[in-house]
């Protein structure tokens, strides 16, 4: 099977299944899981056949497919509706399309497509305007940038446009604006919390972990504007570091667990942007490894939170101790491991990624770079505080005794834990595989030639 056919299967099947789910009533979860699984296998085959020096996008696609597949499995029965499952599959197809394409037109279609389920509150959208506005603005800005590129260069191939600076500073600024809006960089970060609090939790986690902003930097901004990126990227880096710290401080007094985890995810994913810009191999590699960690950990954390909500009520709060560990010890253990894995727990992959990120960022910005360990330290305190509030303390008597993690939930969450722990014990398996591509990103940003 050729790579094109495998890509078609990986993207087409989730989309087809999403349409199918809208038409039939059962078995919804089985169909969704099967299609995500087949998509995952197709990408794994692509990764297997691709040369290791060009496996970055396949690796990220596989990661996303695994997470989406896990999401279909861990979704509580209450949420296991056609609209949620079809939304997850639709998002999976769109994200994979965006990761795999070299065509600007397809990229913008995938970008819009990934946002569609979250624009309508009948589907997966939050019941407030800020997430919708942010997604719409980022889409409009990206589309405008691409129209300007086509108008000037009459081509839509990213490879052809490489190092051409199409559209000049205006297009560069528009692309950066698209990153800022889509990723939730300060000062337009508030939509991320709104989306998590008002929308469907697990699909929102998948939306945030598509990391379209970082993807746009790696796939489009760096290859097309290497010279501009060299001079202007520090601004984006400072913004990302400021976002990481601002959002970390913002989360300190937050009592809504959904919003709090969303801020932690945002703070940590802002570190990815800072690492990509760090102009050092360590920083870029750290950013890419951290991409994996943030994706796995935050989807796991959101999933656990949703599982707690369906068991103990939607109004969980971190303003008081709930003592849920007595009822759900396994969920508690998975929560603390994934939570601390997000902020650099030794023995997990994030220890490696944080080490590289801090090293890379401090090399390029010795003073501003200190914001990164400061933000991570605050995030660690916040996640530990959330853990103690949700799981420790005096047990609430009003709760009905509910089951701890069910087998399908347990296996999915254990897979997340195994990934972050195994990755932490053997980080070289990931680091060395992407070495060539991280080097090319680093050289481009630092002043060398783009060698993709």
């Amino acid at each position: 099977m050729t790579s094109v056919a495998l890509t078609a299967v990986a993207i087409g099947l989730p989309w087809s299944a999403a349409v199918l789910l809208a038409l039939i009533r059962s078995p919804l979860r089985a169909i969704a899981f099967a299609s995500a699984l087949v998509s995952m296998i197709a990408i794994a085959l692509m990764l297997w056949t691709s040369p290791s020096s060009q496996s970055l996008q396949e690796g990220l696609m596989l990661l996303y497919a695994c997470v989406a597949c896990g999401a279909t499995l861990v979704l509580p029965r209450r949420d296991c509706t056609a609209r949620t499952l079809s939304g997850i599959l639709w998002l999976l197809g769109s994200t994979l399309l965006a990761y795999s394409t070299d065509h600007l037109g397809v990229l913008v279609v995938a970008w819009i497509s990934s946002a569609i389920p979250f624009l309508f509150d009948q589907w997966l959208g939050a019941h407030n305007w800020r997430p919708r506005l942010a997604l719409l603005v980022s889409t409009a800005v990206l589309a405008t940038a691409i129209v300007l590129i086509v108008h000037e260069r009459h081509t839509l191939s990213i490879e052809t446009l490489s190092r051409q600076r199409p559209g000049g500073m205006a297009v560069f600024a528009l692309l950066v604006a698209a990153v800022v809006f889509r990723k939730g960089i300060c000062p337009v970060h508030a939509w991320v919390g709104d989306a998590a609090e008002g929308g469907s939790v697990i699909p929102t986690a998948l939306l945030l972990n598509g990391h379209f902003g970082a993807m746009l930097v790696v796939r489009l901004i760096v290859p097309l504007f290497p010279d501009t990126a060299r001079t202007m990227f520090p601004v984006l880096s400072y913004l990302a570091l400021a976002t990481a710290l601002y959002v970390a401080i913002r989360a300190v007094a937050e009592n809504s667990p959904r919003r709090l985890i969303a801020y932690l995810a945002l703070s940590q994913s802002a570190c990815i942007l800072a690492g990509l810009e760090s102009r050092s191999a360590a920083g870029v590699t750290g950013a890419l490894v951290h991409w994996c960690v943030v994706t796995i950990s935050t989807v796991g954390l959101f999933a656990i939170l949703r599982l707690l909500e369906v068991r103990f009520g939607d109004n969980l709060t971190s303003s008081a101790h709930l003592g849920l560990a007595r009822h759900a010890p396994r969920l508690a253990v998975h929560f603390i491991v994934l939570g601390l894995a997000l902020v650099g727990l030794p023995g997990t992959l994030s220890f490696c990624s944080q080490d590289l990120l801090i090293h890379g960022t401090l090399i390029s910005h010795p003073l501003i770079g200190l914001l990164l360990p400061a933000a991570t330290a605050i995030n660690a305190i916040t996640i530990f505080r959330l853990f103690t509030r949700l799981f420790l303390g005096k047990r609430k008597t009003g709760f009905t005794i509910m089951a701890d993690a069910l087998p399908r939930e347990r296996w999915m969450l254990s897979a997340c834990v195994v990934f972050v722990v195994a990755g932490g014990v053997f980080p070289s398996a990931i680091v060395t595989r992407w070495a060539v591509q991280t080097e090319s990103i680093e050289q481009t940003v630092a002043g060398g030639l783009m060698t993709r």
């Binding site: 509706t81 509150d121 009948q122 019941h127 305007w129 970060h189 508030a190 919390g193 609090e197 008002g198 601002y246 401080i249 913002r250 989360a251 300190v252 007094a253 937050e254 050092s280 191999a281 360590a282 590699t285 939607d314 101790h321 003592g323 560990a325 007595r326 253990v333 601390l340 650099g344 727990l345 030794p346 023995g347 220890f351 490696c352 590289l356 801090i358 090293h359 401090l362 090399i363 200190l370 360990p373 400061a374 330290a377 660690a380 305190i381 530990f384 505080r385 103690t388 799981f391 420790l392 303390g393 005096k394 047990r395 347990r410 980080p427 070289s428 680091v431 060395t432 070495a435 991280t438």
Partner: protein, 445 residues
Amino acid sequence: MVFAQAMLVFVVLASGLVFVTFALAWLLGWVPSERVISSITGLTFSASILALAIVLWYLRSTSAVTATFGNWFAVGDYRFPMFFFADRLSAVFLGMTVVLVGLIGRFSATYLHREPGFFRFFLLLHLFAFGSLVAFAAGSFDLLVGGWEIVGITSVLLIAFFQHRTPPVENAVRVFGVYRACDIGLLAGVFAMHHWAGTASFDQGFPHLSGGRAATICLLLLWAAAGKGAQVPFSGWLPRAMEGPTPSSAIFYGAISIHAGAYLLLRLQPMLAQSPFAGAIVVVLGLATAIYGTICGRATADAKTSLAFASLAQVGVVFMEIGLGLKWIAVIHILGHATVRTLQFLRSPSMLHDYHQMHSAIGGEASQAEIDLEKLLPVSIQLWLYRWALDRGHLDTILDRFVVHPLMKLSGVFAKLDGIGWKRSSVTRESPVSAVYAKVRERAG
């Protein structure tokens, strides 16, 4: 030599493997019985002591035993070397860890019998032993950071051991906060070491650095060491940490964890020698802590907290010794202090019983041999000192007023800024449209 290397690796990894095995067993739904847990713990630490004895035997003829595993990961010119390194300094701390943790394991098997968290305690004890052994056997500061963080995590999880009570849980968060704040110094210090010295490994010694650079690295690492060793101004967390079970208090705050900061400084000694300024700061910090611990300890009513302040005073003296360059005196002091303090902590729950026994043995009250020096001071100063000591030097108040409250306030301001243009309350997860849509689907079904 290969045999010695294998033994060193065994010493470090044994408790980690037990932790992983117990954790996997629990995840698969099997909780071992108390007898199995205590037997495995006893076997592990007995074997570790034996293995370490072999390493020590080899150290008679060589300066260090090194077990190298190459680079854990390497990117560009940045390397994370993975090797265990046991010289005479490491050996003292490794020995102290395996012997005392083994003893604590044996003691806890009885002390925590039928306690609901018995399994959890031993799980964390093994993780702690693993973290400590990694930190003490690390051949580089990079690896030391890993062990250091594990010790911190297990420490706070054991402070929150009695999880059904709110104060231990809240105190655990506080301690975790101090640890993480001080870890920034460790991370920045290790980065500076890589950047300026070109290496963070200490098996070959450190290159000579300029006074400013050496002082910067030393002060950053001193920040971390002061946090872990509860030195002034970070001392406020130590009394709070006494909420954990007595055996964990003994091993963490009487023996191993409290001396981890001193170990870091001992490893840093060659660089401290390059910077007299940093050395002087270490001495001043140690002296301040020793005075602080002594005064506060005299106004403390409960046994464990008194012992915690006594520990603090001794660790302060150890810091002074390190700052003055008296390396081996500091090591001997640590060894003696850790052993005696562990015993005192373990006996603290039965302190009254011990006193009664002693009194009945000597046939009356023991005469008061100590001199109350504070009585030489004017009464007004005595009262001021008493109040100062009762509030533990106002350290927590200062931390609250100048760090915690401003941070919370800033977070509140950010929350208000985020809320501009959007009313947050009354978030309904099901919109009317969705509800109607769901009903229609339900009826259709």
